[in-house]
Symmetry: C2
Subunit: 261 residues, 2 copies
């Protein structure tokens, strides 16, 4: 059984509630962590979360290193993460600007290298999140766990740069087991949801744990074996969740989380 | 420049024409090869193709080893390929029936092993086609070129079992170059189209060559370096093609094919 105390609600799951309401509901439901997205923040968010007695597992997201102005924006993201007390800033690395994927990947590596000292000064660990290969055109040229790990290892500072393992993005990979077996100390976060069959939307077609084909328990064991025992974020992007009554949704998420075993 | 004589039209690209019309149009346009899908065949197809002076590059598709009745259906597919004079039967290996991906992959390997002697007797090479990871739930548990190659290598008979490299399915892979560098003699087919940005449909959102983000020329060089110099199939699944006048579509495909360089 996954320890219920490790559950973090990634707030994109309940984006329609707004951060203050989501925080209040999580606190009432006994959920100990939240992971906000930057667009959900205002100047009061850190106080709201702290006074509700919650901790922040990560901030989503920095990255997009292939876009103009990325450096400034990423430094702001680090500052926001530090203000929230988020130990990790999740990096969605950005799509390739041209057909040259190797060049895009080099741009991303250089961007992380420039951001790293600033993040370290702020006590924020960078978490490189490989996205599903279907998202390469819009969101990330980093599309496999192996590549994210290789990138993280270049900096030889796992406490400063690691990877975020999102079940949805990586479950299909035949190299998953061997990559995680070699990833001790490199996992900075773990996200769960499920892959629905059929999947009809490339971004917002994600399912609640148990409704799809991902062996979340097996993946969790691989992640735990890397030494990661921090919060596990439930991150489900699906417009159908907006019509579920909030208390019912949180209770359902908690029950499904406990059944990952 | 890709040699225009290598162009094969995968007939799913013009599924709405029907096979006899597609064959006639290809012959008139000077296209030397076609690759039909099984649902397009009737008892007369082999004669129609032969009398038009065309050759068949491959038959799509066998596989689905994880489904009941796969063995019988795959033997029929081999017979159909042999009747058409298709040197290759493309294998779309089938989705995982449970959450256990390793079990699904073992089922697929066993299915290929059972089919192999029958295919060899009929002079038909099996071409394991890795599909894009976004298709795992409906179509194939084999989702990387590396895994397809590993599977093909198990049989140690590259002239009987190889892999089909479809640009759309594999272009995102950071291991592409190293996998193909080690794939001498193992490539049984090469398919091209393009990955559009944004991609809004998981099956039928494919683009014509040049409209997307795939470096088709670079991939073609990697494929040619494995020793593959056979037909290159243009396989574009997109309903928008149905409204293009047929002659215009073929001329456009030929021009775009020639520009892959």
């Amino acid at each position: 059984m996954t320890d219920p105390a490790r559950l973090s609600l990634n707030l994109i799951t309940a984006d329609h509630w707004g951060l203050p309401e989501a925080v209040e509901r999580c606190a009432a439901a006994g959920i100990a962590y939240v992971a906000p997205w930057r667009h959900q923040l205002d100047g009061d968010s850190a106080r709201v979360i702290r006074e509700a007695g919650l901790a922040v597992s990560s901030l989503c997201r920095g990255g997009f290193f292939t876009a103009p102005g990325a450096d400034d924006d990423n430094r702001r993201a680090v500052e926001e993460a530090a203000e929230l007390g988020a130990p990790v800033l999740v990096l969605v690395c950005g799509p390739p600007p041209t057909r040259d994927l190797a060049a895009a990947r080099a741009t991303i590596a250089a961007g992380i290298e420039r951001l790293l000292p600033f993040a370290a000064d702020h006590g924020v660990r960078l978490g490189i999140e490989p996205l599903h290969p279907m998202m390469i055109g819009e969101r990330s040229a980093i599309v496999t766990l192996g590549e994210a790990l290789e990138l993280a290892r270049r900096f030889a500072a796992p406490e400063r740069v690691g990877v975020v393992v999102d079940a949805y993005h990586v479950f299909w990979d035949p190299r998953l087991e061997q990559e995680l077996a070699a990833a001790t100390g490199l996992v900075a976060g773990h996200h769960v949801c499920d892959w629905l069959v059929p999947t009809t939307d490339l971004l917002a077609g994600r399912g609640l744990m148990g409704d799809g084909i991902i062996d979340l328990a097996a993946l969790d064991r691989l992640v735990v074996n890397t030494g990661y025992n921090g919060p596990v974020e439930v991150e489900v992007i699906n417009p159908a969740l907006a019509i579920v009554p909030p208390d019912e949704l949180l209770a359902d998420i908690q029950a499904r989380f406990a059944r990952i075993a």
